[in-house]
Symmetry: C2
């Protein structure tokens, strides 16, 4: 059964502060749940409106109960309470995608999904960035969140300490099409409205631009990230 305390807890988890306090986040929908049980993430509790064939324990609930706890307007059968994994340590020797002040949850989710597709599994965000365990981010990763290590840290400090070559996405710079992104490197993208800050710009080895038609003002952040990841994969297959 679904208790009132559980309803209260689950709904509180749409807020970052409550997720951090409880060490929990929400995973919703059948497809996401299938990705979840393939991962090492620890499941605290599962609520489902359908009989489930796998062996994990779950609580059968009604559609109307699900709609009380779902964070989405069209809930999809399953909701799991999942433990936020213990933060591991940044691997300075791994290729990383670095995001400064990404604030759109859909963009962050899509970027995590795309980086995973192209084999980049370490993402480092500035402390100001949107939280990767919000329902909207989790859902738009389509499961890639379970295969990606995501850190929030001081990017200037990270770039100062990192020994890997760093490539930053700028509106002007050498063309990405002619750039050979090294196997072990840092790829940095700024926010869509402000780009990469001056502080970080000074710590970046190569300023790189995605050449295009000059009439359009810029690319969407997740599109730019996707194109960098594509080029990275192409350079290192």
């Amino acid at each position: 059964m679904l208790t009132n305390n559980e309803i209260k807890l689950i709904n509180s988890l749409q807020r970052k502060k409550e997720r951090q306090k409880n060490g929990l986040f929400l995973v919703e929908g059948v497809k996401m749940y299938e990705e979840l049980i393939k991962s090492n993430f620890r499941i605290r509790k599962v609520f489902s409106t359908i009989e489930m064939s796998d062996t994990a324990e779950y609580t059968l609930i009604t559609d109307s109960q699900l709609s009380k706890i779902s964070q989405f307007s069209t809930p999809n059968q399953v909701l799991a309470l999942v433990e936020i994994p213990n933060q591991t340590v940044i691997d300075f020797n791994q290729p990383s995608l670095i995001l400064e002040d990404v604030n759109n949850p859909g963009n962050l989710g899509t970027i995590i999904r795309t980086a995973d597709w192209f084999g980049i599994n370490q993402i480092i965000c500035s402390n100001n960035s949107t939280d990767c365990f919000s329902p909207k981010v989790v859902s738009s990763t389509m499961g890639s969140i379970f295969r990606t290590n995501i850190f929030y840290t001081d990017l200037a400090k990270f770039l100062t300490e990192s020994q890997l070559p760093s490539y930053g996405a700028f509106l002007e710079g050498q063309h990405l099409q002619k750039t050979n992104l090294q196997k072990k490197c840092n790829i940095i993208l700024g926010s869509e409205s402000h780009g990469i800050s001056k502080t970080l710009e000074n710590l970046i080895d190569y300023k790189v631009t995605i050449e295009g038609n000059t009439k359009a003002e810029s690319l969407n952040l997740s599109i730019a990230a996707g194109i960098f990841c594509f080029q990275y994969f192409q350079n290192n297959r």
Copy 2:
């Protein structure tokens, strides 16, 4: 001044049927307005909460009036009523991005913006696709909608009549990285959940896939479109 009839008309334009009946759509925000006045689109009326320096006529309104007519939760100073352009004829000799059943407005807007960046200015959507003049699509094109010809038609009929080589995005096929997309071609993407239909598949010359890590299930539709456009631009610069 802003009349009650205008409020009623403007709010009705969030619905496709009303946009078509009135031949009008909404353009909101300062940046979008700046792109609009650079275009050939015909402006019917402009409402603004700020004094505007350009010569066009406008109606000064209050913030609270703007919030009554804006389709967004954070309105941004300007709202223009704009005429939906008369449909021109599909140019069978131009490179086209072809979208089958794209239903997410944010995705369509981002795709229009990205195609424009890479110089593809003809987009052809299946009749089932989301309408390009909805507020959410218009806004996420960031002005590219004013530089792009967008058609809604029977794609099977179009592909049958087109003489250009066609490349379709599939989960299996020749690698995009090794494909040379010709200058004059059709690039086809299916919906994120269903991919390209069997009917269209039979009309496509080359099945192309974006190679990546096999663990992730797929790419977001607008990311896939962006990577195809990037490759197209790279092949034809």
